[in-house]
Symmetry: D3
Subunit: 318 residues, 6 copies
Amino acid sequence: MTQIKQLKPQDEFEGFYLLKELEVRQTNATPPKDYFDIVLCDSSGQLPAKFWDVSPADKETFFPMGLVKVRGLVHLYREKPQIKIAKIRPAKAEDGVSLTDFIRSAPIDSNDLVQIIKRTMESISDEETRKIVHYCINKVEERLPSYPAAKTHHHAYYGGLAYHMVRMLELGEFLCKQRPFLNADLLKAGIILHDIAKPEEMNAEMGIVSDYSNTGKLIGHIALASGWIVEAAVRLGIPLESEKVVGLQHLVLSHHNLGEWGSPVQPQTAEAVALHFIDAMDAKLQMVEDALSTTPESEEWTPMIRGLENKAIYRLKI
Amino acid sequence: MTQIKQLKPQDEFEGFYLLKELEVRQTNATPPKDYFDIVLCDSSGQLPAKFWDVSPADKETFFPMGLVKVRGLVHLYREKPQIKIAKIRPAKAEDGVSLTDFIRSAPIDSNDLVQIIKRTMESISDEETRKIVHYCINKVEERLPSYPAAKTHHHAYYGGLAYHMVRMLELGEFLCKQRPFLNADLLKAGIILHDIAKPEEMNAEMGIVSDYSNTGKLIGHIALASGWIVEAAVRLGIPLESEKVVGLQHLVLSHHNLGEWGSPVQPQTAEAVALHFIDAMDAKLQMVEDALSTTPESEEWTPMIRGLENKAIYRLKI
Amino acid sequence: MTQIKQLKPQDEFEGFYLLKELEVRQTNATPPKDYFDIVLCDSSGQLPAKFWDVSPADKETFFPMGLVKVRGLVHLYREKPQIKIAKIRPAKAEDGVSLTDFIRSAPIDSNDLVQIIKRTMESISDEETRKIVHYCINKVEERLPSYPAAKTHHHAYYGGLAYHMVRMLELGEFLCKQRPFLNADLLKAGIILHDIAKPEEMNAEMGIVSDYSNTGKLIGHIALASGWIVEAAVRLGIPLESEKVVGLQHLVLSHHNLGEWGSPVQPQTAEAVALHFIDAMDAKLQMVEDALSTTPESEEWTPMIRGLENKAIYRLKI
Amino acid sequence: MTQIKQLKPQDEFEGFYLLKELEVRQTNATPPKDYFDIVLCDSSGQLPAKFWDVSPADKETFFPMGLVKVRGLVHLYREKPQIKIAKIRPAKAEDGVSLTDFIRSAPIDSNDLVQIIKRTMESISDEETRKIVHYCINKVEERLPSYPAAKTHHHAYYGGLAYHMVRMLELGEFLCKQRPFLNADLLKAGIILHDIAKPEEMNAEMGIVSDYSNTGKLIGHIALASGWIVEAAVRLGIPLESEKVVGLQHLVLSHHNLGEWGSPVQPQTAEAVALHFIDAMDAKLQMVEDALSTTPESEEWTPMIRGLENKAIYRLKI
Amino acid sequence: MTQIKQLKPQDEFEGFYLLKELEVRQTNATPPKDYFDIVLCDSSGQLPAKFWDVSPADKETFFPMGLVKVRGLVHLYREKPQIKIAKIRPAKAEDGVSLTDFIRSAPIDSNDLVQIIKRTMESISDEETRKIVHYCINKVEERLPSYPAAKTHHHAYYGGLAYHMVRMLELGEFLCKQRPFLNADLLKAGIILHDIAKPEEMNAEMGIVSDYSNTGKLIGHIALASGWIVEAAVRLGIPLESEKVVGLQHLVLSHHNLGEWGSPVQPQTAEAVALHFIDAMDAKLQMVEDALSTTPESEEWTPMIRGLENKAIYRLKI
Amino acid sequence: MTQIKQLKPQDEFEGFYLLKELEVRQTNATPPKDYFDIVLCDSSGQLPAKFWDVSPADKETFFPMGLVKVRGLVHLYREKPQIKIAKIRPAKAEDGVSLTDFIRSAPIDSNDLVQIIKRTMESISDEETRKIVHYCINKVEERLPSYPAAKTHHHAYYGGLAYHMVRMLELGEFLCKQRPFLNADLLKAGIILHDIAKPEEMNAEMGIVSDYSNTGKLIGHIALASGWIVEAAVRLGIPLESEKVVGLQHLVLSHHNLGEWGSPVQPQTAEAVALHFIDAMDAKLQMVEDALSTTPESEEWTPMIRGLENKAIYRLKI
């Protein structure tokens, strides 16, 4: 079965794919005819597709996030590859395909990632800090294994959020060894909490964000997480004025570094400075790694990456 | 008794004033001599002053925020008026002067201002909204009558914060009449809550801010107030996800309008847009009014006002 | 008759509408066929439309700004609703429809608005100021009742400019009561004059701006209005150096507040500061009000509003 | 007689100089003593100076802009050279010194410069354009020979404004030859008018700007000059709507190129684009030339130049 | 034969043109049909075109940069003119048309331009400077006559780079006469070297840039040219630390003036300041001249020009 | 002997210190008296000092960078501690003090640091890359052990540059393990080369930068290092067009990430993105670590740190 990433213009192919997006539209013909405007994906990538001969029954049969068997042809439309679907049917039990095989996901099993996060949480020596982190993780426990870290920016796949946390925890551990003046408890807590409210900020299914939630737009994950720390402290009986609560809120509030990037205060503790750079470095390097791994080896340049000043990455031939 | 605002170079004067700031310093002489570096103020303004002949006893006698009787001479130092103190003694009970006569304060008695704010709070028809506002006011009840709205920017005097709120409430009431689609409950609540955490953000005495608190620097009054709404909701048993709690947090979080001005989210409800402009208009017009009223009538231009793009205000002769 | 605002995909409808825009285009067919690319509107909103079967006679029959009877079908095109016109004919006298019923206009009759503006002008107590305002109003007298305040930004409808002025005058009156140090004459004059040259800057018909005039692009409404004050003063024999003329020019020149927003000088009189905020607050709140009232009640969010940092407005369910 | 530019720390000197600035101040001594805070200058440069032993008679004898004979010593104060005046007396008729010998001025006699400007004006072939230019020159006729082009930025000396115009006219003439599509009449007019209102914007004597005028602050030289074109057109009976009047206003209004630099519109005619670059190039190169010529040959670097992104200029040894 | 620039909607025409771009695409039909997506050009301008009835043989016959005879019809597509090709065949030897007649090129023969540049190079009196310039010119000798100065920004045609240099040399010569303190050798060298690496930065054929080279993206023409000066110095045995080498590198490195425009250092020699303004003025005025000459006389406004703050240029009717 | 860092106002002390800066100045007295304006330092920090009774012999005795024995008193001057020197004499051989004991230096011996750098260089597997790195290190071999990484920004002490490199190499090694797609050779080379030209950009002695060199100002360390790679390649016979040379230049040229921070191109290879973040993270965390370690334990806040958006760092009490 051909992977989406390998499809090139003029290819004819047949295989199972996921209907990531599907909308019924009408042509300009008289009378207008229905067609499907589709995004087909598998774990290697995604492509736009059209299915022109839609019957009334089809409209009751196909829905977003469904698995399908497709026969199609790739052609160029406005300089980008697009699939023209010749035949399509829903996957059946006997096809033996499973949704999770078709979505992009972190390179490590997300249950393992969550275990690592929890183990790190348990290793926080200060009890109150640990309890606050625990309280906040609990609020998103169900969504943590599946959520991406962003809509498109970086780690935008199943388990992306947990993967981002784990990689940051590794980097944080290295830094605490290299620079022992950093408080490891605080840095661990900051890394786990900094994006903990992302699942509240975005609506996602199977690691795919459909949109931002109302709360996400009106409050944002930064102020949301800061509020959860307040909630935890109130419920756990820890005074809001304690340096611990203030310090944890500060880590979360300042991690975007600048006001224009969404942080109402700038990093003013050693750990907050470290957190910002750990977050930025992990996000940017992951963008680079993902762009390189989803770009065909034959291409010298990746597509432009919005999070890197809209620059493309070049594959040096060294 | 001559008011500070009326003192001009070459004036000799005698009267009671407040030692707003006082530091002991040493001259470059050999051996170095102690002198006082002072800021003298009354309700009309303030001037720097020096007292050169400090005895050891003087150092035990004079402290910041104390009332004193001073005889002095005004001269120009680096193009600005400065007082050379010839004689100074602490005010005594029999002098019949009272601290509150010497500090700058809002033009309306601050207890009256607080009454207006509380009455407005009572007029909020939605019970949960009213209770949240009540909870937050309670947290600063003692400090509300005296606190300024800012260190130097605007309303920087005794009762300034309450005065700012009351003026904004008047403007808000006008707008709700002019544009009935605005929700008056929300706007009232937003006006009262938007700067409610300022007393936690800044350390002040008698309406004079000495500096920002640690919490103020690390969290800021915007995220602090948003956290208080969370705290109130948790204590009052109102779900954090309710549109009321989200809507109130949004008002507070967005009232500075832009990220670079400290708001992690931008106004996205009608009342949040209104709140931002009510706040900005009241602050800027008060800066203008205060600058004009503290500048001698003989001057065509006020000093430059930082909050107004560093422009001075001209007194048109019309 | 169904209002434009109420039309949803799949709706079939028939009624009278205004051809706000109409262009003849050709399809890609061989030989190419003519079709009409249309914007249909009524007072509730507008939608793009296509009429595919254009005869040579049709091309002589239909023109922009004409009233027509249309039968059509709404469908989605690139995720936005579009009308496919099945039948179209010009409105006839006996249809009893009138152009003014089909354009969007200010909620108050624009002749009444102009009367209010003139009455306010008459209430200016200083004679020279009043005469200058009178002179400038005269220059746009014919266009004042119909002109919008902007092309799309805010108050973009019949009478929008006069409506903007009247609302600002109300707000100005409130402020002069709240802060008596403001000069009411100047503020009234500033509000009436600040956008008085908009009808010279933009070409519009029935409240709909087609484009900016050459003069509008090369000089702009701010410098134009400032020039009109000069012209008025020269004709009325008032010295250009008088504080009145300088003060009025300053109000107009500075009302956009910053250089990057088009003001060559920044507000430096109390009334100029007030004028800027009155203008900004009225424009922004009107954008919010208009966006909410033209968005179907069923929608939680309005479309994004360019003038509000490209944010959409949320309808809190409180 | 030693020129100011040649004075170095430890130099003792005697000669005639101009009291560019003089203020009476008081020392911190008890009782305070009067002293003079002075800026001494000649045509080569200026230095701060102090005269410590001021008698009451001295205060009636010395004033700004007076010529004096001084004996003094140069020393370093806060890393900058300063003069300590040992002896000072007013210049007398028999000293045979004249004020104009002591001020910095353009390298060409300013009457000659004005003649060149007037001759260029006469060479404008379009009569109405010529008359408008003539009208505007008339308004500043008396001040044109002496005025500088700016307070400190560039051409800040006697005749600087006329010199700036003449150099720009030369460059404009070259460009019209190199690119014949440029309209020479317009470019000449634009160059003469672009800064014509500077004498109204700034108060200056003998080429030295003391401050900005009220009108200068409230309207600015750009809108002032645009208003003068309107005034000229009204008086000369040329319609304000004519392309000539609009085109000339556009040249003046757009010559600072960007809103943040004070232009309410951006250059939108060929001549307006040319004018902006001619102005910028002449101003910047003059800053460089003046900085190099007033910096001692022994120095590799000039002081930092504000108008050149605060960079200093290096004297390459080639 | 009708020039591209003169073609208007509804025009039918026949003539020879250059296939500047050509791509094979597929329609949405079932089965999809091939068509050509084309950009047709001649020396007067260019237009998009479609050829719908592509045979397999056609795909082997037509290629980019080939000359063709075309019969077509102009129509409007998305408000822009587009050509529908009815008939197309390759040009034959007997047609007597030559590629160079169909490309846009500088108004002066590019061999003459190169001669002028070389003659100027020979006139540099300092031997080492002259040799470095010579070395760098040698590196691009073959490409210098044909290369444009930019992809689309300015001088984007055959010989554009050399034409830009020559015009700048004229302006530089004028400036050295007007301001003799400028070092003519340095200015000549700076003008010739500043864009000398453009042919390495961009891939172009016949004056038409297809894209940036890898080296162009990774190093840029500024650092490339600076490196060439280093290379020249090493090969010629001139010390890298000499003021000559440093001064020439500085001219090249600083000519974009600001970091955000690509210069790692800002101009800090007189000639570097001059070079920046000569470059900017020539580029901007050429944009204006080219926009006016390629816009039909009947149009008042040119299209918007990206390099001029996205403003269009107005043709004043004077 | 009391360390500079421990001195508090009113302390009297005696000990050996380094005269980091010394200038002879004159008082305002008549006649003026000489005094020394001094910066005294040891390895813990530095303080300004004055010595008022300077004899002619003293002026021949004391010079910057000399060791002295001082008896003094600390007092507050403009709210900052300053030393009043009572007695001062040069250190003698028999005092047994050595210059290196008095300068601030990296926490690891700088010879060891250089060894680590060289060993890393040897571990680069690609021969040409290794040779280029070797060539560039050779150019600064003598200065590498002592040079700081910046004037004041970060690592501003003896061995600071080498220390910065070594810490970055550790972080780079970690990242190459965490993300094996990174090319370790390139990253090592990029880390060693990115600031290699700093010793050419700045003049320094004993780790203390006095100023920027002319070459440093005119070319900057980024373009300098890029030029050294060119020089190395020319000398070693490696083609300038090879991906190796281009890739190394790209690493150096892009490491400041943005044009406004001095990089003429932005990172466009994986290693260039990594290099930028490794550099930024190490510099910022070192600023934090240094600020905390040089701030007395008793202080909650460090001074403001320019490189951290001018924020101070808070010492959380956790």
